[in-house]
């Protein structure tokens, strides 16, 4: 079944806003084996909307229209779909009664324009909206002699998503052949995409019935592995088999077998091994602490940290000897290691991390260029550091530095020796 998603709203045609609902719809549709062939974004203009709906009906079997179902003058989806099909819109007495009851319950007078939401396209069935006033519509109809399905859902994500997942997907499942989709997400870091692909392509290309998508970005690589079969267990078996072969190939670069974030994994291992963590950050300026504390429950293993931009603070908060900074410079392996050791002792944690570097764009020199970062970990009686040279802008360098630190902690926890 070929599908097109039409996102309706003039704001989605500005430089500032983007349709994101369609990613969710696509995920849900793919899960039942429906492929999205087109996405169209169209503004709140009647003629354009009719045009978009007609173009979609002419080229796919299932058209999902998102948005334009509200009570304002700009909400034109119902009228447009009706015109595209050559049918009428009529006000539904049952919907009027339900809407009136809803307002009465809240003891608010109902504004007249709300009645627009009780309009239904001739031949449509009403899809209840658990989260708002605008109902969805379901049309099983014909266009140019072919059977077509049209699903209309509201635009606000809080209404669109549950209506689509809870009401529309089960109805679609009842119509289309049963397929079950198994899925796994693997994640790896500190490995270039080309290296990962060279490692993995010889493996995943032999699984013709499994689809593997490699996504690189945000200092990590994601592998989305999916397989569709009439029986779920069979699909799951194929996915798991491929996944475990890829896990083996990625070896220590793999940090997550089920889609968890790197910070989740680090917090998880800290807790499991009953270790505690403290960090001293210079160039990342709190980013590492922020990522760790974004995980709920992190306070059990993450004790705290210091953002030690100035040399004085490196000494005061992380016990870095002043002479060491004098001798090697603030951006050096020695200072990173002293920071890791100092903050660990100072806070009384079992693991200490130190990060110092030059995030740019200013501050680089011939011998210490922008992107040079030292990351150190102090654990188990040993302190080790790593010299990194990251490319890119300030944000990217900071992200990679925090990623490298998280990955070092993970590796120390998993392979302590």
């Amino acid at each position: 079944m070929k599908c097109e998603i039409i996102a309706v709203g003039s704001e989605l045609l500005t430089p500032y806003r983007q349709d994101t609902n369609s990613l969710y719809l696509t995920e849900k549709l793919n899960e039942i084996g429906v492929i999205v062939h087109f996405k169209t974004i169209v503004g709140d203009r009647h003629r354009d909307l009719v045009n978009a709906v007609r173009a979609a009906l002419a080229r796919v079997d299932l058209v999902c229209v998102m948005g334009g179902l509200g009570p304002t003058e700009d909400d034109l989806s119902r009228e447009a779909v009706a015109e595209a099909l050559g049918v009428e819109v009529h006000r539904d007495p049952q919907l009027i009664a339900a809407l009136a009851a809803r307002f009465a319950e809240r003891r608010i007078p109902m504004p007249e324009n709300n009645l627009k939401q009780t309009d239904i396209v001739e031949g449509a069935k009403v899809i209840p909206n658990a989260k708002g006033t605008a109902p969805g519509l379901w049309l099983d109809t014909k266009f140019a002699g072919h059977r077509k399905l049209i699903i209309m859902v509201p635009g606000p994500p809080s209404e669109c998503k549950p209506m689509f997942a809870d009401e529309c997907i089960p109805r679609l499942r009842a119509i289309i052949p049963v397929r079950h989709i198994a899925k796994r997400v693997l994640k790896a870091t500190m490995i270039p995409e080309s290296t990962a692909d060279a490692l993995l392509a010889p493996i995943y290309t032999t699984y013709k019935d499994v689809e593997t998508t490699i996504l690189a970005g945000n200092a990590e690589i994601q592998l989305h592995v999916t397989c569709a079969k009439p029986v779920l267990e069979e699909a799951q078996m194929r996915v798991d088999e491929l996944a475990s072969r890829m896990e083996e190939a990625l070896d220590q670069h793999l940090y997550s077998s089920h889609g968890e974030s790197l910070e989740q994994i680090v917090i998880y291992y800290l807790e499991m091994k009953q270790e505690t963590l403290a960090v001293a950050e210079s160039c990342t300026g709190g980013l590492l602490a922020q990522r760790l504390t974004s995980i709920s429950g992190s306070s059990r293993s993450f004790l705290g940290g210091a953002v030690v931009y100035s040399n004085e603070l490196k000494t005061d908060f992380a016990n870095v000897p002043h002479e060491l900074i004098e001798a090697h410079g603030a951006v050096s392996a020695e200072v990173a290691e002293a920071m890791a050791q100092g903050i660990r002792r100072r806070v009384g944690a079992s693991i200490g991390v130190g990060i110092t570097g030059i995030a740019g764009p200013g501050g680089g020199t011939e011998t210490k260029p922008v992107g040079l970062v030292y990351v150190a970990v102090s654990y188990n009686g040993k302190t080790e550091s790593m010299e990194c040279n990251f490319r890119g802008d300030r944000d990217r360098i900071r992200l990679w530095a925090s990623q490298q630190a998280l990955d070092l902690i993970r590796r120390k926890l998993m392979w302590p020796h």
Copy 2:
């Protein structure tokens, strides 16, 4: 001139990837007065592509096709546009020579499939690609008796954006009537969108020739104010006039008159007033420090900070008396104020900030629910705190807490008494 943007690429029809280039193209097109009526996303399938191009040619004057110009079998945009127009594709001898020279210069043998990039649609002019091998194409043609423009640019943002801005926009400017667009972005924070709109709508609705878009999100409100006139100065005058009336209405809530971020503004004022800042964070876990240090040059005014998750660290790093925590609890106005004062003295900064609260989802109680946050600022011999109740999930509560802290610093710097 009505425009449609077609983004080509099967990855843009998955749940994982989204076309973002079109936001940039839309911005550039709007600047010369071209309105985007449709955006279509289509995969690397020949039939679908031809269909998308034909649908676009039938409904708009200008079609921008992004992507599908590379050397692989999946790159089908040239063939699809040619078929939609009923013309041929032919290999261009000049392009072949240029491509061969490029590879010769780098002393790399040219893979055969690269020649695909020298194909041009009959009647098209070549648009040079300063950042890659795939040239763009410019077609000034007819479809069903009407004049149509087709612009084809590569998909990778690093090639697409400069080609569009530097090559395509000047060519479009030469064709369409001259219009100049003036633009301002105002930003305000800690004011609900509905309150802002109630304040501002009576003002901006009287400026019929100026377009005002209100965007709320990420704990702030943005006002995009644009005006198009044949003479730039006239447009600028109207925008500035409306902007200054809105600035007045927003009063202290306005933090930026030209689109700067809140952290940029805070760093700017710190530097201008020659003040220095230190922060002690509990529930925001480094987010405030991370936002401040994301600004290049922040090290001149931001001295550092402490992430004091544990009570011991609140005492050790921010000098919060142990008895104070015992008496009032870690989440209290008293502790927030002691943190602000303590970190300021400890670091030797002129301004100190303390944040303590419950970011959730766990840790809330009847009297101290999730979302309760105290933010304190110590400055100029005074320490003041604010009690906040933020709604939402952990990320949102942390974001709002850091936003409130930045806003308090800004207000103290601008209105010290």
